[in-house]
């Protein structure tokens, strides 16, 4: 796994990925749908897969002493590493947001702990749609991205709507920290579990599909 991750970081990581992670700074903007920051990371995953295709990354990988399942595992490791980096970065910007402007967000979830939990949910949905579609046909990386982006867009809309329409979101989660910390921590734990399960299911499904795929 160490060698696989090294390959992903040295040869596959797209230069936009660190920039997209830094777009966690969007949480400093007042009244902004902060879920969009998670979308930007999925955009850099798309770039990674797209440039991988142009660089014959998969063919190169399969000349190494690894199998197709390992190729998928390596890509998942990279993406999950980027996601964790973004969440860590997000925590920093949320703290900065609180220090600079503790006003509530009128365009969706506040910059608070629940926003981190939502990040796990955004990633979960992205994993389940993007990777199995991508590994069904790695030449059509655009298809996987358009599908996942459409759903992420709906999620951003649902996020904004839920902070007005669903009492639990409006009154408990969409509140400044440290209000309702117990509920928010529970939401975070549940989201993290969903994240792990979705990563596992998506990995297995992607490996199965990729195993059957002809690389040309």
């Amino acid at each position: 796994m160490k060698a696989l991750l090294k390959k992903e970081l040295r040869l596959c990581l797209h230069p936009t990925a660190p920039m997209m992670i830094l777009l966690s700074a969007l949480t400093l903007i007042p009244n902004y749908p902060y879920g969009v920051a998670y979308f930007y990371l999925t955009l850099s995953v798309f770039f990674i897969c797209l440039t991988g295709r142009e660089n014959h990354d998969i063919v190169f990988s399969l000349t190494l002493p690894i199998g197709k399942r390992d190729v998928v595992r390596g890509r998942f490791a990279l993406v999950m590493l980027l996601e964790v980096c973004q969440l860590v970065c997000m925590v920093g910007f949320i703290l900065l947001h609180r220090a600079l402007s503790p006003l509530p967000n009128a365009a969706g979830m506040d910059a608070n702990l629940a926003l981190i939990a939502e990040g796990f949910l955004y990633y979960s949905v992205f994993h389940l749609i993007f990777f199995p579609t991508y590994y069904k046909n790695v030449s059509k990386v655009g298809t996987a991205f358009v599908l996942s982006s459409a759903v992420i867009f709906l999620l951003v809309v649902a996020d904004v709507v839920s902070t007005y329409a669903i009492p639990f979101f409006r009154d408990v989660l969409d509140t400044p920290d440290p209000d309702h910390m117990g509920a928010k921590l529970g939401f975070l734990a549940a989201s993290f579990c969903v994240y792990l399960i979705s990563a596992f299911v998506s990995l297995r499904l992607s490996q199965k599909r990729f195993q059957r795929l002809d690389i040309r």
Binding site: K2, A3, K6, H56, D57, F60, T63, G67, D70, R216
Partner: protein, 281 residues
């Protein structure tokens, strides 16, 4: 033990079928894999490497299926393809650093030796290299992890005659050092100089799996005018082609006595072209 054995490999496409291809590679030989474009050479090689998922058949490296031993056998395999350029904007140094991490048997001193031998500059990127230099870089990578089997897909395609000659000499040196080489090409003159064994594939079927000398001895070439031959002689011609001096026909060596014309020993290209012409007719 055979270095590589392929048994009844089948890959079906809508307009093409790789038809139960079977062969094995003995150790320390250069095996030429010939056939026209679209004959099934790359389909076979890519199935061997796991890029394609065959419909049926078995591929074993040193007697073991790749998936059974956790792909360890690939530690001893190097793949070089002229049509592939990996990570065109990354420096060779970076690509090497990554590759090295996958191979416990990596020999850095050997790698440096090949860099010097091939005049490769590690600070360059693949896009800054000529085709010949790209091939040499891939060879350097393969040899530095002590690959015992080299699978070469059209390695001399697009190279100038001097670079080709240089590479062929390298292949011969490698053979002398006990390496096994599977060399796919349609530039058959390269194999006239290097191959010990020939695999000839046409239309997805393996038509010949013979030592190179024996394969060449199997056929003779005659020059003829169509009106000079009787029906029986026409039947014995496996394939004919025309040039500015008339027609040439490929016949089996044992049929040479049936012809009054002087029979010559053909080279690989002549055999392949005549057999393909015969198949088309």
């Amino acid at each position: 033990m055979d270095v590589l054995s392929v048994e009844k490999l089948v890959k079906q496409y809508p307009a093409f079928r790789l038809n139960e291809v079977s062969f094995s590679l003995p150790e320390g030989q250069i095996t030429g894999f010939i056939g026209r474009n679209g004959a099934g050479k790359t389909t076979t090689l890519h199935s061997i490497l796991g890029l394609l998922a065959p419909d049926s058949g078995e591929i074993r490296f040193w007697g073991k299926r790749l998936s059974d031993d956790g792909y360890k056998a690939k530690q001893r395999v190097g793949f070089v393809s002229s049509g592939m350029s990996y990570y065109s904007k990354s420096r060779l140094r970076t690509i090497t650093g990554v590759t090295r991490a996958f191979f416990p048997a990596w020999d850095d001193a050997l790698y440096r030796t090949y860099l010097n031998l091939f005049s490769l500059d590690e600070s360059k990127t693949p896009e800054a290299l000529s085709n010949g230099m790209k091939i040499k870089y891939m060879l350097a990578l393969a040899l530095s992890h002590n690959a015992d089997l080299l699978i070469l897909d059209e390695p001399t395609s697009g190279l100038d005659p001097v670079s080709r000659e240089e590479l062929l000499e390298i292949f011969l040196d490698l053979k002398e050092r006990g390496k096994t080489i599977l060399f796919s090409t349609h530039v058959t003159s390269d194999l006239d100089k290097t191959a010990d064994h020939i695999l000839y594939i046409s239309g997805g079927s393996l038509l010949a799996d013979r030592p190179a000398e024996a394969f060449l001895e199997d056929y003779r070439l005659i020059r003829f005018s169509p009106q000079d031959l009787d029906a029986e002689q026409h039947r014995r011609i496996l394939g004919a082609r025309r040039d500015k001096h008339g027609s040439t026909g490929l016949i089996r060596t044992e049929d040479a006595k049936c012809f009054a014309q002087q029979a010559e020993k053909p080279d690989l290209e002549q055999i392949m072209v005549h057999l393909e012409k015969g198949a088309e007719a």
